[in-house]
């Protein structure tokens, strides 16, 4: 165990009753001072992990360690973590000052010190001078900031954020993404951020944990996860993907849609069945002659930055293409791509096996 580790889960399982397993044998380690994101669809167990760290629930099996000490039985009010809740959970009967000072009053901090710290916390979230406002007078974005100030004022070691941006409109949400990321850097504290929004996760995190059905599917930097999705679920959940079945003929050669292509993956069995992922933005629209694939344009949507084309090849596989160029609906076009854009996913490969395989042939991802 590294010295920097602040939170560790050892084979943690959470069941609500015998049949409903919310978390299934989850293990991971979090380092101090990083921005982590738990990403997954609703019901994947991401909020359960957060509530386990906060201490609102106890694990059925396994150990949770905080700074190397087991905290399974430590109640929420004695843990050095603070939470920013999904609907903010600000106390409606208290004004902004009293909301932020709530934790400090419980710790019986002296009035002068308390005022100073509340003021600092408000400055941190750009809400100077809002002390005497009622919560009902604040906008969604402002409430969000008060909730963050209420958490950071207690100087916790870890700040948990439970989908804090989901109630905000798009523009405010992207603003807050920058602010949160900036705040985490300034504070230097460990942030654990829960979201179902993959763009949010990619934009903000040092490391992402992708969860599904109570299990961690893959963890890594946003680039790792985007470029080297481990399985169909991750590929599909993180960004838009074209996933087609293929056969790994030999190292660095893969066959799909009846053609052989050069690729950058290796370490699989010859003629193994695999899933092939190509991102829509990696496909380049070209003429039928120059293209590696020939497809027919089915529909075309203008998405602002690019056109989103839904195209089909002769086998009936759908290929989504993001292109700045327009195409004619109903026409045949060619699709071009480079070997690096082909991502080969082994069926039912675990994260450890995947990492080991990359290690063995010094794969495309130099960061590992």
């Amino acid at each position: 165990m590294s010295v920097e580790s602040i939170i560790r889960f050892d084979n943690v399982t959470k069941k609500y009753d015998e049949d409903t397993i919310v978390l299934n044998n989850v293990s991971f380690e979090l380092e101090r001072g990083k921005f982590y994101t738990l990403l997954g669809p609703s019901g994947c167990g991401k909020t359960t992990i957060l509530r386990l760290i906060a201490g609102f629930i106890e694990p059925t099996e396994g150990t949770i360690l905080f700074n190397g000490k087991k905290i399974n039985d430590v109640p929420a009010n004695e843990r050095k973590v603070n939470t920013v809740f999904q609907d903010y959970a600000l106390f409606p009967h208290l004004n902004v000052f009293e909301n932020i000072a709530f934790g400090l009053r419980i710790k019986k901090i002296k009035t002068d010190e308390m005022k100073k710290r509340v003021k600092e916390a408000l400055a941190f979230v750009n809400l100077e001078g809002y002390e005497n406002r009622e919560i009902s007078e604040m906008s969604g974005g402002q409430r969000q900031r008060v909730a963050i100030a209420r958490a950071i004022v207690n100087d916790p070691e870890v700040i948990l954020l439970d989908e804090p941006l989901s109630a905000l409109d798009l523009k405010l949400r992207s603003e807050m993404q920058y602010e949160l990321r900036d705040l985490q850097k300034r504070l230097g504290k460990t942030f654990i951020f829960v979201t179902h929004d993959q763009e949010e996760a990619l934009a903000m995190s040092d490391e992402i944990f992708v969860l599904n059905n109570g299990e961690i599917q893959q963890s890594g930097t946003p680039l790792d996860i985007y470029d080297e999705p481990l399985n169909r679920f991750v590929a599909d959940f993180i960004g838009e993907s074209n996933i087609v079945p293929g056969i790994m003929i030999e190292d660095f050669v893969v066959e799909f849609t009846g053609k052989k292509f050069e690729c950058v993956d290796a370490g699989l069995n010859p003629n193994e069945n695999v899933d092939i992922v190509i991102r829509p933005e990696d496909l380049v629209l070209t003429t039928v002659e120059k293209g590696k694939l020939t497809v027919t344009v089915d529909t075309q949507l203008f998405r602002g930055v690019h056109y989103e084309l839904s195209t089909y090849d002769k086998d009936g596989n759908e290929w989504l293409v993001h292109s700045t160029k327009k195409a004619e609906v109903g026409s045949s076009v060619g699709l071009d791509f480079v070997p690096e854009n082909i991502h080969v996913m082994r069926l039912n490969e675990t994260e450890e096996e995947f990492d080991a395989r990359l290690e063995s042939y010094g794969g495309s991802d130099n960061e590992r």
């Binding site: 609102f56 929420a76 009010n77 809740f85 959970a89 009967h93 934790g103 419980i106 710790k107 209420r150």
Partner: protein
């Protein structure tokens, strides 16, 4: 354009109700309060009301109403709290509400049987070696029966406010370091104060003018304003004095309503925590 007559028509039942059953009776009572036994106009009733006998009745009435409200609250809050934590809370709540549908007189008579010298409670006391006691016609039995009758009306508003309380706020309080008691006193209680207030209102005000339970359980004593009104109207046939007491009772009720309704701003009234 035909919205106007419809709106006017829908206003008629309300207006009729207010005039016939609220304004007219209050006006009549006020009118009667200015006449003596012989039917002459007088202010004597009001002068009489400020004598020591009536002052004692007022104090008594308020004291009993306070006791009844206090004990109702004492039992109702934990009960309501417990109910919100149960699985089939609406069913359990219904079971508590059902007795309030049974006729009041019936329930009161049942207690006469229970508390009587030869009733089951005394039989039990004797078996336990404590011996027979006079339970009926005591302050204890009066407050006990009144609390029993009023408790559902106290539980209901408190249950509703507890049920509406966002559970994330409890998590938030604990997250910020509050233990169970601090969470209750700084978050749960202030945020359910409106329920407590309406509970106090629906118990204290009727308790102030109780006369039937007073008569049947506390015995043939004039101890509260309610029994005093009954006495004046039915025994002394002094409608003037009875009306005067009633006028003051209505005044007291208005004052209590003003105190317990509070501001509409959620539970902002208790916003300052020291």
């Amino acid at each position: 354009m035909n919205a106007k007559p419809t709106r006017f028509l829908s206003f008629v039942p309300y207006a009729a109700w207010i005039v016939l059953f609220v304004i007219a009776p209050i006006a009549l009572i006020t009118y009667y309060s200015f006449f003596d036994l012989a039917g002459n106009f007088t202010l004597e009733n009001y002068r009489n009301f400020f004598t020591s006998i009536y002052f004692k009745l007022i104090v008594n009435s308020f004291w009993y109403a306070f006791l009844i409200t206090f004990f109702s609250l004492l039992f109702a809050y934990p009960t309501a709290y417990f109910l919100t934590k149960t699985k089939h809370k609406q069913l359990w709540l219904l079971l508590i509400i059902i007795p309030s549908w049974i006729n009041l007189l019936l329930k009161t008579y049942a207690f006469i049987g229970l508390f009587g010298l030869y009733g089951p409670i005394n039989a039990f006391l004797e078996m336990a070696g404590i011996g027979q006691h006079q339970l009926l016609f005591t302050d204890f039995s009066f407050v006990f029966v009144a609390v029993y009758i009023f408790i559902p009306f106290m539980i209901l508003p408190i249950f509703n406010s507890l049920d509406k309380l966002n559970p994330a706020l409890i998590d938030a309080a604990q997250d910020l370091g509050a233990n169970a008691w601090t969470t209750f006193s700084r978050v749960t209680l202030p945020l359910t104060m409106n329920g407590v207030k309406s509970g106090i209102q629906v118990v204290f005000i009727p308790a102030l003018s109780l006369f039937m339970i007073t008569r049947l359980i506390a015995g043939n004593k004039v101890i509260t304003l309610g029994t005093a009104i009954e006495q004046q109207f039915l025994v002394a046939q002094n409608w003037g004095m009875g009306s005067t007491i009633a006028v003051f009772l209505i005044l007291f009720m208005f004052i209590i309503m003003l105190f317990t309704s509070g501001s509409e701003k959620g539970a902002a009234g208790s916003g300052k925590i020291k």
